[in-house]
Amino acid sequence: MNPVEIQHVSKSFGDAVALADVTAAVPRHSIVGLIGRNGSGKSTLLRHMTGLLLPDAGECVTLGLPAAKLGPAELARIGVMDQHAHFVEWMTGTQLMRYVSSFYTTWDRALERDLTELLEVDASARVGAMSPGHVQRLALVLASCHHPELLLLDEPLSDLDPIARQTVLRLLLDRFSRDDLTIVISSHMLRDIEPVVNRIVCLHEGRLVADADSDALRERFAEWIVTSRAGSLPSAFDDPFVVSAQGDAHRARLLVRDVAATDAARFEAAHDAAIEARPLTLEQIFPVLTQQASGQGRPRDAAEAGGVAR
């Protein structure tokens, strides 16, 4: 049973479409990276998972129950960290932790101590006086100390300095390997989460663009450095697997996707060129994923090609 199953969820706020027929699943004991541009619906999707928002169409099933019907027992197994995690700001960190811990029977005080120390949370400060990064780390402590089965993190790294980011990711991996935990991270820090996630769910303008194993997704894309022996490369390539092209008649840099086994050889023969294929990082294929979804396909101006190895 998948901890979260999103089935044809659509949601609009007035005229603005936030989610359009999104179907995805979060497998058990996996770390899912939820990526997308600002306003693509990531936070909205995360809020559907806890039942805070109800879909206009479709259903979200969390821990076996429709999210709308999540009861206290199920909520106690979920840990949530909101992007703008704000709490009652007059409480100090310690008071807040005591207050929140009173709602969970599985609260682990030892873990709380360890996490506050590891994340350098000064629990004696008032929440309202904490900097955004500090609040974020406190929010992570509050979300994790009751040993949840499902951890939903909305931009947990956005306000943290580079060292704190690494600490948080190490911490998540540690908890992941100790508990039977499923983590969903929504983040812009693609470089940071790439080694940590094993599945990617990508949204663009409310629609699902990708829901796949992260290695498999990346292996669909490649960068080709094409060198022509005759100096006769065309300025545009109409092969279906070419996403973007950049360069002149002698050398070109192509971004390709879903290349079949024979396509490369045929391409080399057709253009009398040699191909050097390189893999791409998540950050490099991200613009392609989102560009494709909005139907831009190949840009007019090759120089504006959607981002290969900046």
Binding site: F13, A16, A18, G39, G41, S43, T44, R47, T50, G51, L52, L53, L54, P72, A73, L75, A76, I78, V80, D82, Q83, H84, A85, H86, F87, V88, E89, W90, Y99, V100, S102, F103, Y104, R126, G128, A129, M130, S131, P132, A139, L142
Partner: protein, 475 residues
């Protein structure tokens, strides 16, 4: 027990306890059960022994509504602040615990006046009615402050409460004659309020609505504010002249309810007229503590010298004070022409006309004391958290000052010497306060930090009440 902890922990803070004390002070002052401080104990004893006069009984019915409401507002404000955060949605069984906690507190609070009614009226029906009304009154503020409930519903729920306060004798009689009806109505109202605490639908709406209380300084995620008029600014600010900058300050100081603060002046003048107590007029300047007058308040670097900033700040306060002063004056004149009813139980001696003039003048003279608190503060969210304590301290100090000044003026006017001495004293007071105010303002702007480390990070966020256009966040 966990329900009580979850609920009461929210009010176990110095601010709430301070407010609780203040509420009863205000209640006692507004309702003239005790026209004189020394009569508090005898009145209470009379109530306890069941020897209350009908007047006392009627007043008790008013206390029955206002008292629990005052206690309820403190609980409600803190509870609602929590419920407006997205972090509260996934706390298991939060609403159930808040509901249980509210019920228990309501029962305890409602028991006190119900017992007093029982001792005086005797009939169980009246006691039951009193208990229900008190319980409904306890939950009422939570309902009014809950922006997840429709406005129509909130207004509808407020009407019976207001009726009970406005016509206490009829209320007492109604409770005596048909207690079950009253109990049933109050019970229905209470049930409605409790349902709103528990309701899933309301809970889903709250994180995305503006919190009406904002006591904890928490920020909402998404709210649809009322749009202010479009920003058509036609004047160039590349100038050192005062007038364009004053207009800029006026534009920056606009709030959601621009006339609300003149409303404060109106309320105090009317109250003074009704109670025949001109000394309360200067209290309207307390609204300066809420809205710190015409100020440039954006956290940007203005192309103005510090001296210029100081001049603008000073002029801004003067203009504001003068506006209120003139408005109050007009109202006083109008209400002098149109006779208003007096509240029956007031027993003050009728003040002489000169006192009205002195009080009115005093409001202008003492305004800067209140304005000083607001200088340099960001807009909105003035009443959040720890700053509310500061505000209340200023308010009490200011009220004390008013009372002191009123006492002095009383003394001065009782003497057989004519009004000239009193007027001269007022003029001196005005000049002295203005001088101190000018020194303080100029001192702050020429020597102080204009943009230092914020007291809390809450200062940096654009507050929900700043009157700028609606913004969506985090979708």
């Amino acid at each position: 027990m966990s329900a009580l902890y979850a609920t009461l922990r929210l009010v176990w803070r110095p601010l709430a306890l301070l407010q609780l004390g203040l509420v009863w002070v205000v209640v006692a002052f507004l309702l003239q059960i005790v026209p004189d401080v020394s009569e508090v104990v005898p009145v209470l004893r009379a109530l306890w022994l069941g020897a209350a006069t009908p007047g006392m009984l009627a007043a008790l019915w008013v206390v029955l509504v206002v008292g629990p409401a005052g206690a309820g507002i403190i609980l409600a404000v803190n509870r609602i602040d929590l419920q407006h955060t997205t972090a509260s949605w996934h706390l298991p069984a939060l609403r159930r615990r808040l509901l249980s906690g509210t019920i228990v507190c309501g029962l305890l609070v409602a028991a006190v006046p119900a017992v007093l009614v029982a001792r005086n009226d005797g009939t169980t029906g009246a006691t039951l009615a009193a208990f229900s009304v008190a319980f409904a009154a306890f939950g009422a503020p939570g309902f009014w402050l809950d922006t997840a409930v429709s406005r129509a519903a909130r207004v509808l729920a407020a009407l019976p409460m207001l009726a009970a306060i406005a016509w206490p004798t009829s209320m007492a009689r109604l409770a005596h004659d048909s207690p079950l009806l009253v109990a049933a109505l109050a019970g229905a109202l209470a049930g409605w309020q409790l349902y709103a605490i528990r309701s899933d639908r309301a809970a889903r709406l709250r994180p995305f609505r503006w919190s009406a209380s904002r006591q904890s300084g928490s920020r909402t995620l998404y709210w649809s504010g009322r749009k202010v008029r479009p920003f058509e600014w036609r004047q160039s600010l590349a100038t050192n002249r005062l007038l364009p900058w004053l207009r800029a300050a006026a534009r920056e100081s606009e709030t959601r309810y621009p006339l609300a603060h003149l409303g404060a002046a109106a309320v105090t003048v009317l109250m003074a007229r009704l109670l025949d107590l001109p000394q309360t007029i200067p209290l309207y300047a307390g609204s300066f503590l809420l809205k710190s007058s015409l100020q440039l308040r954006m956290p940007i670097l203005y192309p103005l010298s510090r001296v210029r900033r100081a001049q603008l700040a000073y002029l801004g306060t003067v203009i504001d004070a003068a506006t209120y002063f003139l408005f109050a004056g007009v109202l006083l004149y109008v209400t002098a022409l149109v006779p208003l009813p007096r509240l029956p139980s007031v027993d003050w001696e009728s003040p002489r006309p000169i006192l009205w003039v002195l009080a009115w003048g005093g409001s202008l003279a003492l305004a800067p004391v209140a304005q000083w608190h607001g200088l340099g503060q960001p807009t909105g969210d003035r009443l959040t958290g720890a700053r509310l304590i500061g505000f209340l301290a200023w308010l009490l100090g200011y009220a004390f000052l008013v009372v002191l000044a009123a006492g002095q003026i009383n003394v001065a006017t009782r003497a057989d010497a004519g009004p000239e001495r009193a007027l001269a004293a007022l003029l001196v007071l005005l000049l002295v306060v203005q001088a101190i105010h000018a020194v303080l303002v100029f001192g702050r702007y020429t020597r102080g930090d204009l943009a230092g480390a914020p007291a809390t990070y809450a200062d940096l966020r654009i507050s929900a009440g700043s009157g700028l256009a609606a913004r969506r966040a985090g979708m």
